[in-house]
Amino acid sequence: MREEGQISAYQAMGYQVSIVLATAILFVPAITAQYARQDAWLSLVLAYLFGSLQVFVATKLALKFPRETVIQYAPRVAGKILGKVIGFIYIFYFFYVAYFVQREFEALMSAAYLPQTPIIVVIIMLTLLAAYVLYGGLEVLCRVNAIILAVALFGLLLIFLLIVKDIEFTRFLPFLENGVGPVVLGAVVPGGWFGETAVILMLLPFIGNQGKTLKTSLLAVTILFVVMEMVVIGAVGIMGPNETGRFLYPTFNIARRVTIEALPILERQDAMFMMIWVAGMLMKLSTFFYAGTLGLAQWLNLRSYRILILPAGAVMTALGMQAWENIVELKSFSGEVFPLTIIFVNFMLTGFLYLLTFLKPKSLQGAS
């Protein structure tokens, strides 16, 4: 089955940016600063290189099959059974990220804004919005994303400008206090997160000007890198690595710090940050939800993915609710387990498929 919409490479770049940004921005500074401490910014540079490599491989692979998604060509590349299994791993990965996003979303919402509200309400609200986007299709997703990304980047920049006066650059000294090891360890998490841009595997067939995809994908990782650097430097520079590592959500705390003595109305406006972040989370959830549902429909050779939206959403939500008992489990998972799992899919699995296309050039036939 085919999705009828068509998007441009720059719109796809928009997704690639916003899907990583929404969650990474909350968790990455704390996790990275825990290991790399004041050298967190350096970890990000490593992560950037690693992320670029992942998205490079993914885009190269996708470009070999310009009319199909990874679910469709995996059986041809890897053999019927193995291909279907790989396809299923991808589909599960998309839902896995999606329900992880649901829970991350719920974690901050219930911690900071709606402590008394049952978490399932918040999750269902977001999931229904995502389902609404999915009914609209890829074009709607990309249009909403364009607006949200513009607003979100502007909002982040504004917050950054308001707190930049508090950054003390001495906090980044001394350089490489504990050697390179912690810096590499700190790069694992953001590196994994940057690799999520490999979702291009599912989006590529719907891109009109595919020639630009490689460029825009790398550009997406670059934008992410710049924004994340901004956030990490802000967090570490203001609060110091120890405090940054201690917070569950350092970025949220930075937003809470915005004060201008001359303009007391600007204090405590972190709820504004929340609103932008909700929009960002919606985009991330929608994209992975979309990729998963579309993939599932293709895997099962269905005529339309739309009928799967609601039941798949329900299964996703149920899996998410089941997966983690509390925020402590979630945080430890997101720091220690989640990045490796997504690196496995985005890097290892994708790389494996990419290598197979060289071993079995026959599989490329009919792809153009």
């Binding site: 402590p115 049952p118 309400v121 001394p174 206090e177 405090e243 201690r246 705390n253 004060t259």
Partner: protein, 409 residues
């Protein structure tokens, strides 16, 4: 399509029903909350937490000239209430206050946290956790103080300019740049400093002193001058989370110079040639700490540059002369240096590195720091501190150049 729309509507109604059934969740009317404006923490002899919170009474505000049958208009009520409760932890005490307060206490508007001297001497660590953890508490907006004397008295001084004493403290803090003689440290700063090895926290000091303009009490009248008045003064030094000593006002400014926190203030020095006095208005300063390590001896060089104006010149000097200006600069620099050195001496005396010399050292010499990190409190008093001040005090000299003393023959 319409039937799909209807199904969607049913879904929405189901959700709404669930919402209504489950109650109002986080909904709380603005008037149902008691907005805590100041929180004071003390410890009872039994080791329990004694908490005093100040909540304004909007009903007293509502009794304005609105006319009509505004409820409460006829009852003249106090503009604020103080609740004092005891609990095993802070949170326990807050919830104990629910027995007295008709409104749910809400801490997001709180801007003042006061610890009693006793509690501070025993250590803040345990009680600070609540302030760091709570979502409602705004770390950046709360200022931490140590109270000299009875907290109850301080928080009971009426505020003729506003609703409650807490707002008065807040406003005094806002104009701290007028003197820079007291510290007003945000909660976030205290928590961050506590997480560092090479720096100790300090907080402001609050006190209720006798009001010299108090009117003799005739009858209970809101318009009378109260017998006490609130004043912020100096700073309290900590080692880890324990209060170990106080800085007086000039010493406090000495500390603030090193930390780049001086926003302004007055500096009174004897006039050039020892005659008369000069009062200067400080605009601000810039300080850098340069650690040096020579033969195992640690030396800190603090370089401060100060900018300001002459506000008053009582004495026979001609400010239009460059050499007089230079002399004033030198005198002011010396005064600043004295302040800083006094602060350093006091801090070293109580072994509290509030200046962050240890941090500065760590940044410069990370490997050496690892070896001395644990002994730092013992090493710190022996650190040699050099203070170099560069003052430039004559930007403006006001509306006149020569003082009246010489213009009249």
């Amino acid at each position: 399509m319409p039937q799909r729309l209807i199904t969607a509507l049913v879904l929405v109604i189901v959700l709404l029903a669930a919402a209504v059934q489950a109650g109002c969740w986080d909904l709380r009317q603005a008037e149902d909350l008691g907005y805590v404006m100041a929180t004071a923490v003390d410890r009872t002899p039994q080791g329990l937490v004694k908490l005093l919170v100040q909540v304004p009474n909007p009903r007293a505000l509502a009794a304005g000239p609105r006319g009509g049958v505004t409820p409460g208009a006829s009852i003249s009520s106090k503009a604020f209430r103080n609740y004092e409760v005891v609990g095993r932890t802070i949170f326990d005490a807050i919830r104990a206050a629910a027995h007295q307060s008709p409104k749910r206490l809400f801490f997001a508007q709180n801007r003042t946290v006061i610890f009693s001297e006793d509690l501070a001497r025993q250590g803040l660590g345990d009680v600070l956790d609540f302030f760091g953890r709570s979502v409602e508490i705004r770390r950046r907006l709360n200022r931490v103080f140590v109270a000299k004397g009875d907290v109850r008295k301080i928080l009971n001084v009426p505020n003729p300019h506003g609703v409650c004493p807490a707002l008065r403290i807040d406003n005094i803090v806002r104009w701290r740049g007028q003197t820079s003689h007291f510290a007003a440290v945000p909660l976030s700063k205290v928590l961050e400093t506590l997480s560092l090895d090479g720096q100790e926290p300090f907080v402001g000091v609050i006190e209720a002193v006798a009001n010299p303009t108090a009117t003799p009490r005739v009858r209970k009248d809101l318009s009378m001058e109260p017998p006490l008045t609130i004043t912020l003064t100096g700073a309290a030094l900590f080692r880890q989370d324990r209060l170990v000593g106080f800085l007086n006002e000039p010493e406090t400014r000495g500390l603030l110079w090193v930390l780049n926190e001086v926003r302004g203030g007055q500096l009174v020095v004897p006039g050039p040639g020892g005659k008369g006095q000069i009062a200067a208005d400080i605009h601000g300063g810039q300080a850098t700490i340069k650690p040096e390590l020579t033969d195992g001896r640690i030396r800190m060089t603090v370089e401060i540059s100060v900018v300001g104006d002459v506000a008053e010149a009582e004495g026979p000097f001609d400010l239009s002369k460059p050499e007089v200006a230079k002399e004033i600069d030198r005198l002011c620099a010396a005064a600043v240096r004295r302040e800083v050195l006094a602060a350093v001496a006091k801090a070293q005396e109580v072994q509290s590195d509030v200046f962050g010399f240890g941090e500065a050292f760590r940044r410069r010499f990370p490997q050496e720091w690892k070896t001395i990190k644990d002994d730092w409190p013992e090493i710190f008093p022996g650190v040699e501190v050099l203070v170099k001040v560069d003052a430039e005090m004559i930007h403006h000299i006001g509306m006149i150049s020569k003082s009246r003393a010489i213009s009249v023959p």
